[in-house]
Symmetry: C2
Subunit: 353 residues, 2 copies
Amino acid sequence: MPLMPKSKDPSDSSAGEQRRLQMVDIARLAGVSVSTVSRALNGSELVNAETRQRVAELARSLNYSINFGARNLRLQENKTVAVVVPYDAKSRQHISDPFFLSIVGSIADALTDRGYDMLLSRVDAERLDLASHWFDSGKAIGVVLIGQWRHHDQLNDMAARKLPLVVWGGEMPQQLYCSVGGDNVLGGTLAARHLLQLGRRRIAFVGDANLPEVWLRRQGYAQALREAGLDVDPALELAAPFEPGVATEVLREFCSAQRGFDGVVCCSDVLALLTIQALRAVGRSVPGDVAVTGYDDMPLAAYCDPPLTTVHQPVAEAGAELVEALLGQLRGERAGPRTMPVYLTLRESAPKA
Amino acid sequence: MPLMPKSKDPSDSSAGEQRRLQMVDIARLAGVSVSTVSRALNGSELVNAETRQRVAELARSLNYSINFGARNLRLQENKTVAVVVPYDAKSRQHISDPFFLSIVGSIADALTDRGYDMLLSRVDAERLDLASHWFDSGKAIGVVLIGQWRHHDQLNDMAARKLPLVVWGGEMPQQLYCSVGGDNVLGGTLAARHLLQLGRRRIAFVGDANLPEVWLRRQGYAQALREAGLDVDPALELAAPFEPGVATEVLREFCSAQRGFDGVVCCSDVLALLTIQALRAVGRSVPGDVAVTGYDDMPLAAYCDPPLTTVHQPVAEAGAELVEALLGQLRGERAGPRTMPVYLTLRESAPKA
DNA sequence: ATGAAAGCGCTAACAC
DNA sequence: GTGTTAGCGCTTTCAT
């Protein structure tokens, strides 16, 4: 007695909604068994070269393509990686920072090159652990998370649960998960050091140090100040978030309250842009009154007003690096965190000395 | 005799690589059959409320999650949509235009809201038809393609083959596939008309009219000129591609060769930015000597130099619209092309009159 | 209300 | 070299 799953309406012969071709069809038409078709299509040496040819030909001419769901189920294999971009639930912010989007593009390339598919999704930045769902449900073999946000702890838990995971971000003390990122300390240092070389002495820092990457950049910034014999002034630190909406307000307030600075290290190019706007709004010029550095070197950084001096992140290499780290883990390699070099791109917002 | 698929190394008990929990495990622990677990987890009324509770509890506490591959295979269902971004194979350009990336973000949101997963990939812009692979292989129930590029014909073929497909782009004559896009003719008109209102009379058009969207925008541009009693001057048309690299060169050449224009309608914000750069390189000011309009109103358009007057595209709504169109098709509705309104955002590159 | 068993489309171990 | 068959993890009909 035939059991019918979800009885497909059999009366739609008119609709042209033809049932998807499967191996059994090819087999029938080729006059061989399904196994032979399977073997032929997989290029098995076991099947007669002539038969193999014929079956392959037939399959191609009929535009057959395999049902991956079934194949994966049988093979217990999967070539899909989940890429997860955290978002701020409160502001319901889009995936929008150009930098994150560039990274996603870079990962897409790297995965494609290696024959993997990419499942893209977003997750509440407060519940990064939900990203493990993709693995747990078998939809993906691992997860690439774009950014650590403030939940270092959740990431550690995920790693402890043996979730194949790679995170774009900075390397923190006692970190259990595998991170890949630019050298944030170096980035912070390069930016601050450059402003110091320009003769600036009161250098502000814009970025939310609750985020590991920002925290590291601040280390670098502080170190550069120390090298120059200067102290960090907490009054010149502004914990601006990456979301443009909130950041705009916070920055305007900061710029009207605080006037005693002549340089700013910003933790993203968008923040740099907003900072410049806020400065102008209170009648201060860039780079004349205040020199500003951005972070990321997004594609448009060269076309802003003024073009941004910014820390260049290795976006193009990032995708490959993240993917390799993940695949390495899956091969059982104990992949440690990886930090990639960054450099300063000099433009007008903080010009060459 | 037990058949072993791809003999999993049985000796890795030490590695902590614990086998994924499945229904049979829950069933055993709950002392019921697999069917009952299945029913319980699907909230079937058939199973005793108390049992259902108990099973659900157990599953949750064990962190069980279902194997979607198997479920889909059995149910012949799939909740994955492929989103495909064409790229230029010759230049091996990244997915990089901020506008495309914003659209992708918008689609991600729309799909998530409706409980669908998103498979993101790129495809050679010359072989858009390869995008059908996702459907053919059963990995996705349909395809959303970002942009028509120059292969209108391939898209029509795909639609003719009954591929569930929605394309972000303009509506062309005799189009068989479903497109969703901004009103390109209107956009072109709004931009040109605004420049005319500014008193500009020699208005250039920058964009490759081989692309349907650009072609439509040029219609609108031409129409606005005609309204004003002006003729279109082919010498003022520049078929600049969207790829920044190539466009930069072409634009520099154009701007040094052609000096007889005082306004430019550009077909993307990035092109507008590049145009402004090229103009400045030959000593012409914006908007003083030449007023420039962009297209898309990308998030950063307000922060460029100068801030861009640009045609705003309905990115936020685009995702929902595209997804609805696709799901509509799958429900058997005959979804026609859909054109969404656009408007001009006035900023400094072509200021208010 | 629950269980047994078939089968979704595919692969591979085992026969021949 | 090819066919037969079991079974990947799940849902559902049918039987109880």
